[in-house]
C-alpha cells in the first residue's frame, strides 16, 4: 500500500467536490431550504475551485492515490474537465428552470447537493481501476440519478421515470456484479491490470470470459444506454425534469465511456507500450461491440424519426450518438479513442445547448411538443438561431464542431478499413438530418400562431449563446482541444 501524501495532492479536485457536497447540505440546513440561491453559489464556488485545482494539479503520469483501486492519470484528468463543465452548466440552468425551481417546488437546495455528489461520483468513475470501485462508483452515480429523476415529487411523469430507472438500474448492477464475480473467478483478482495478468497467465475458458465480460458490459452499457441496455433512456429522459435529462445525456454518459475504455483497454487487451494494441487471444470483443454500435446507431436514429416530443427525440438522438461513439471504440487504435474523447467533449457542449433551449422554451410554453415550436424562428431569433447551430452540429454539418468530431471518427474508421461501419455511420447521419431538421422546420417554416417574444430571462439566452459560440468556433479552429484529447490518451495505451 504505497500511500504517500505527496500523491494525495492529485486527489484534491475530487476532495473539493465532496466538500462542496457537504457544504451545500449544510447551507441548505442553515437557510432552511428557503434561499436556494445561496446553495447554488456554494456549489458554483466549489466547482470553480475544483476546476482550478484540476488545472493546477494536472497529472502528467498515472498516480495511484489510494492503493490500486483508483488511478489519477491524464485520461481521467480529461474527463474531470468534462464533468466539471457539465455540472457547472447544469447547475446554472437548473436555477432558472420552472420544473425544478418553480414556486410550487420545495427542497430546491438539496438538488444542488445531489448535483455536487454526482459530479464527485462521475470523477471517481473515470478513475476507477478496480471491479469493486467500478460497481461502487456506478452505484453512487445511479442512486443520485434515481433521486434527481424523481425530483419533481408530485409530477406523475417524474416519479414514473424514477421508478423505471431504479428498477432497471438495480437489475443492471445485479447482473454486472454477477459478471464481475465470474471474472474474479477466472483471474482471482479485481484490479483491471491484475485481471489482464490473470487472463494472460490462466488457460481460462472462452465462454466464461465471454459471459463475465458481457454481464459487466451490461452494467456499463446501462450507464451509456447502448442497445440492448438502453430501454430505460427514452422514458426516463422524457419523464425527468429537463435540466436533469440534460445532465443525464452528457455527464453519466461520458463517465460510462471513461469506464468502458479503461476497463476494456486495460483488462481485455495487450499493449506493446508504443500505442499498438492487440487482442488477447481469448476473446474477439471488438466485433461484438461493432454490432452493438451498428444496432444502437440505427435504432436510435430510426426511433427518433417519428417522435413529436422534442425531449424524447433528443433521447433517441443521444442513443444514436452512443452508436457513433462506439464506432471509434471498436477500432483498437489510438486514433479511435482520441476521436471518442474529442467527440464526447463536443457532444456535451452541443447536447447541453440543445437541452438548454428546450428548458428555456419549457419555462414559457409549458410543453416540448414540436408543433408548439411553430414560428419560433421569428419570435425568438437568437434562441432559434442558437438551436439551429446545435441541430446542425448534432447532424454533423461542416461549419460546426459536430462535423469535426464526426470527421475524426470517420477518419479513424477509414484508417482501419472498417468500411461497412463507416458507411452505416454516414447513412445514419443523413437519416438524423431529417428529424433534426424537423425541429428547424417547425421553428422557421410553419407560421407562428401568435407573435411577440417569449420574454425569456436574459441570463438563459446568454447561456445558450455562450454554448453556441464554441459549437461554431470549434467547427473552425479546434487544434488546442484536439491536442488535449490526444495527450490524455498517451498514458492509457502507453502505460
Amino acid at each position: 500500500m504505497n500511500f504517500t501524501w505527496s500523491d494525495a495532492a492529485y486527489f484534491w479536485p475530487e476532495a473539493i467536490m465532496a466538500l462542496t457536497f457537504i457544504a451545500c447540505v449544510l447551507t441548505d440546513l442553515v437557510t432552511r431550504g428557503r434561499r436556494h440561491g445561496v446553495t447554488l453559489s456554494v456549489l458554483i464556488a466549489g466547482t470553480v475551485v475544483s476546476l482550478a485545482m484540476t488545472v493546477i494539479k494536472a497529472p502528467e503520469a498515472s498516480h495511484y492515490v489510494f492503493g490500486q483501486m483508483v488511478v489519477i492519470d491524464p485520461f481521467a484528468h480529461f474527463f474531470r474537465y468534462v464533468f466539471l463543465f457539465v455540472t457547472l452548466v447544469t447547475a446554472v440552468f437548473s436555477y432558472s428552470s420552472r420544473e425544478i425551481m418553480g414556486k410550487d417546488r420545495e427542497n430546491q437546495g438539496e438538488y444542488y447537493s445531489f448535483l455536487a455528489v454526482m459530479c464527485f461520483g462521475m470523477m471517481v468513475m473515470a478513475e476507477a481501476n478496480d471491479l469493486l470501485m467500478l460497481a461502487l462508483s456506478i452505484e453512487l452515480v445511479s442512486i443520485t440519478s434515481y433521486i434527481m429523476a424523481g425530483y419533481a415529487r408530485f409530477s406523475l411523469r417524474s416519479t414514473e421515470a424514477s421508478l423505471k430507472y431504479v428498477l432497471w438500474g438495480a437489475m443492471s448492477s445485479g447482473v454486472m456484479l454477477y459478471g464481475a464475480s465470474i471474472l474474479y473467478g477466472l483471474t482471482g483478482a479485481t484490479g483491471f491490470s491484475a485481471i489482464r495478468e490473470g487472463l494472460l497467465a490462466g488457460s481460462g475458458s472462452e465462454l466464461a470470459l465471454l459471459v463475465g465480460m458481457l454481464f459487466v458490459l451490461a452494467g456499463i452499457g446501462y450507464k451509456i444506454s447502448a442497445v440492448p441496455f438502453h430501454f430505460w433512456t427514452p422514458d426516463v429522459y422524457e419523464g425527468a425534469p429537463t435540466p436533469v435529462t440534460a445532465l443525464f445525456s452528457a455527464g453519466p454518459k461520458a463517465a460510462g465511456f471513461a469506464l468502458l475504455i479503461r476497463f476494456f483497454y486495460t483488462s481485455l487487451v495487450q499493449t506493446d507500450g508504443t500505442g499498438g494494441v492487440t487482442l488477447l487471444e481469448g476473446i474477439q470483443w471488438p466485433w461484438l461491440l461493432a454490432i452493438m454500435s451498428a444496432v444502437t446507431m440505427t435504432w436510435g436514429n430510426l426511433a427518433a424519426l417519428r417522435q413529436t416530443n422534442v425531449k424524447r427525440m433528443l433521447a433517441y438522438s443521444s442513443i444514436a450518438h452512443v452508436g457513433y461513439l462506439l464506432m471509434g471504440f471498436v477500432l483498437l487504435t489510438q486514433a479511435g479513442l482520441q476521436a471518442i474523447l474529442f467527440y464526447l467533449l463536443i457532444y456535451a457542449i452541443m447536447n447541453l445547448g440543445a437541452f438548454l433551449v428546450v428548458i428555456a422554451l419549457n419555462n414559457r410554453l409549458h410543453s416540448e411538443h414540436m408543433d408548439d415550436y411553430a414560428g419560433l424562428g421569428y419570435r425568438e431569433p437568437i434562441l432559434a438561431g442558437a438551436m439551429t447551430i446545435f441541430l446542425f452540429s448534432l447532424t454533423g454539418l461542416p461549419p460546426t464542431a459536430g462535423f469535426v468530431a464526426k470527421f475524426y471518427l470517420f477518419a479513424a474508421l477509414v484508417d482501419s478499413q472498417l468500411w461497412w461501419l463507416a458507411l452505416l455511420g454516414v447513412l445514419n447521419s443523413v437519416i438524423s438530418l431529417y428529424y433534426y431538421m424537423s425541429i428547424a422546420r417547425s421553428m422557421y417554416f410553419t407560421p407562428a400562431t401568435e407573435t411577440g417574444g417569449l420574454g425569456l430571462s436574459r441570463a438563459h439566452v446568454a447561456l445558450v449563446v455562450i454554448l453556441a459560440v464554441p459549437t461554431l468556433v470549434l467547427g473552425l479552429y479546434w487544434s488546442p482541444v484536439k491536442a488535449l484529447a490526444d495527450s490524455s490518451l498517451a498514458f492509457l495505451l502507453g502505460g
Partner: protein, 168 residues
Amino acid sequence: MISGLIWFLFAGVSVGSAVVVATSKNVVHCGFGLLFTLLGVCAMYAFLGADFLMATQVIVYVGGILVLVLFAVMMTHRIESNRLRDELVQPVAALGAAALVFGLSMLMITRTAWDEKVPGEALPTTSSFGRAFLTDYLFPFEFASVLLLVAMMGAALITREKKEEEDQ
C-alpha cells in the same frame, strides 16, 4: 469437511425459499421466502469460512434490508382491498429467459477449468477485514459511506410529505 448432506439441506432451503419468492401470489409470503433464502446463503458463508460476512449478512441484510422491504410491503397495499394477490405477467417468456440464463451459466460452470485449489484452514477473518478496510480498501470504504449518506438523504427527500406551512 462437513458432510455433503448438511450442505445440501441448507442449499435446498435457500433454493426452495427462492422459488417461493419467485412464484408466490401473496407478497408477504415472498418476503418470508426471501428471509429463508438469505439465511440459507448465510449458512453457505459459514461453510466457506466467511465468519464476518455471515454476521454482516444476518445483521445488515436480514435485520435491515428485509425489515425495510416488509415495511414497504405493509405500507403500500391498501387495507380495504384484499388484493394481496399478484399474478405473474408474461410467465412463459420469463421462464424461458431464466432457463436460458441458467443453462448458459451451467454450461459455463461445467466447461471452465477453474483452477480449484484445496481450501486451507478457514481462519477468522474479522481482523484481516479491519486491516483491509483501513489500508487497501480504504477508498471504497470511505466511498461507501458517501454512498449510504446520499441514499439516506434521497430516500428521505422522496418520501417527505408535502410541506404544509408555505412560508414565502
